[in-house]
Symmetry: C2
Subunit: 366 residues, 2 copies
């Protein structure tokens, strides 16, 4: 990855915003800008903050535990350790760097930290400027190197699915299936699942975010599998539905309906189309068939370094899609007491349409 | 768990603070108060907010995807769905509940959300009150039911370690060991690892938060394994060091030194002692032996619903320990280019000392 190019682009943005530096706290943004892979344990335990000045050297602020990793992974940045917390270090470092206005990521900074940072930096006459989405606006368009990495993450995810699908009978319960999936992912080289694998059998499928439990995978019962992995930092995300046996008439009907909605949604995805238009294209199919109330979530989301990122394909997203974005298209129908069906593929937005990154067609012929 | 008792206690606190309600956003706090287990995908994707009024019925605010789960897990609360986001719902719900002052968790609320919430609620003449640690202050003292659950989580963790330890030769690389550990955890019934398992061989052991990689586990080379799991919602956390073969003289010397520091730290842990005193007791041992600069992190941390929580055993923690707290004691020595040694057990703070929750003694006799 050309991190220097990304940094330069961001520095141009900072100069146009007339701020002296940006403090990057969101892990994916930090990774995008410098390749640092330190693991955060939630927002309360950061593995480091990236300080990008509008001009001059990038600093990676971290603690003792991550010092060696930071130096190894980002040798071109200045690694600085904060033995007494990030605020103390900022209070000392920013005046040294002649920073008088510091932008921070309002959408990934805790209220309490922002308050303390404001108080600490006010004493040094440094102004804080909340920003939202500066780096995300860069991340949302993937270059071909990134698209290739995401394609590999999708392919590996499908490989795992195919392997598990062919041995489904070996796993009696939802949790067994989920465990087999996640183990296979890592055995095949994935860093980790990109989210908690969802395996929902029968009526549990009515919960879009079902947690795999001890429910048995019943013969002739339906199964929703929503799975994704991270490979070389980039995510994949895919949902399949199937029946271990003979699907019911109702199942076949709804599966075909969801698939039809997915195809309509994907057919609408191209540069210049608004997120809400793609959502509507799929939603109309389901609503016209009388199931509108059973499709309660949005049609899709962006995927990249984060498994859920911009853009959104929802009824509220008025922004136009652009070439190089990568989105999921995942309509669903959820019927309490009966179950649910969701189908999810990933697509690259192109000028004249979109490119399906998935090739698996399990159960699309029913 | 007696959730009603916890809610009542919190409501008393709210009345004393003269606020009408608390909006609980931190997942562990939400779980502690109502048992809801919806999974959050980071702070940007909550699976629900708990609204606890100073008087009256608790409301669980969530979205379509978690509706059924919320209703099933917290039948005594009012589940309310926000089809257009939490802020829109709060703007409508709070006036209905006659809330004129709303406390929120400043340490788990994004700056951007707090800003938008302030603007939205100002129109309804509702005052926002930032708070920090209201529920954490309850969580920090564990009752015997919680201690029993944590003890089970520790025991299962040790069982997993013992199994992997006895088959270590089967796993050629760090990542193989980590994968075997995490798979075994889940096969034995854990919900998940409580953090990313650390397996660091040889010189990688010098990184306290090493990410398992393709480094081979060498004969006569050292191995640091830091592992924990979640069972019935509660966490365990344990670190062991070992050598697949014959340990070097230096390794034996440092292992004994770290163990001595751990025993000194644990001997200092009892109700009434400050976190910094326990830290000092262990640190002095390492410093007196000339390795003070190589022990760069604090001695320990609380464990409960979160794997890292209050209290802290660090040179900066002046608060006194209380009976019923659960802490790790985990001194370490990290030498760049050579490797590292860390030993970590979990202890229950009692009036007259502490109780070691661990029984595994692997390599403590070298």
């Amino acid at each position: 990855m050309n991190y220097q190019k990304r940094i330069k682009k961001l520095q141009g943005k900072l100069r146009r915003k007339k701020v002296d530096a940006l403090l990057v706290s969101k892990p994916e943004n930090r990774q995008y800008l410098c390749g640092y892979r330190g693991g955060d344990h939630g927002i309360n335990e950061t593995s480091g903050l990236l300080l990008v000045p509008a001009k001059g050297k990038v600093h990676l602020l971290t603690d003792f535990r991550f010092k060696l990793q930071a130096e190894q992974e980002v040798p071109w940045a200045e690694t600085v350790i904060y033995p007494k917390g990030a605020l103390k270090l900022l209070g000392r470092l920013l005046p040294d760097l002649a920073v008088t206005s510091l932008a921070f990521e309002s959408h990934y900074t805790l209220h309490s930290f922002a308050e303390r940072m404001t108080a600490t930096l006010a004493k040094k006459r440094i102004k804080l400027v909340p920003t939202d989405g500066l780096v995300e606006a860069m991340r949302v368009i993937k270059d071909e190197e990134e698209i290739a990495l995401i394609r590999s993450a999708v392919r590996l995810n499908e490989e795992v699915f195919t392997e598990i699908h062919s041995t489904l009978a070996d796993y009696p319960t939802e949790i067994d299936v989920a465990l087999a999936i996640e183990t296979t992912m890592r055995r095949k080289g994935a860093e980790r699942p990109s989210f908690d694998t969802i395996v929902a059998s029968g009526a549990n499928g009515a919960l879009p975010h079902a947690v795999p439990g001890s429910s048995r995978v019943k013969k002739n019962g339906s199964l929703t599998i929503d799975m994704g992995l991270i490979l070389d930092g980039y995510c994949s995300d895919m949902t399949r539905n199937l029946v271990a046996g003979k699907p019911s008439k109702r199942y076949r009907k709804l599966h075909r309906l969801v698939r039809k909605a997915q195809l309509a949604g994907a057919a609408a995805v191209r540069a210049g189309v608004r997120g809400c238009d793609a959502d509507k294209a799929a939603r109309d199919i389901i609503a016209d068939a009388g199931y509108g109330d059973y499709f309660g979530h949005s049609l899709g989301h962006g995927v990249g370094l984060a498994v859920h990122e911009e853009p959104r394909l929802s009824s509220r997203s008025k922004k136009k899609l652009k070439a190089g974005m990568i989105v999921t298209v995942e309509p669903g129908i959820y019927i309490p007491g009966w179950g649910g069906i969701r189908l999810e593929n990933m697509y690259v937005v192109r000028e004249d349409g979109c490119e399906n990154l998935n090739s698996d067609s399990t159960w699309l012929d029913i």
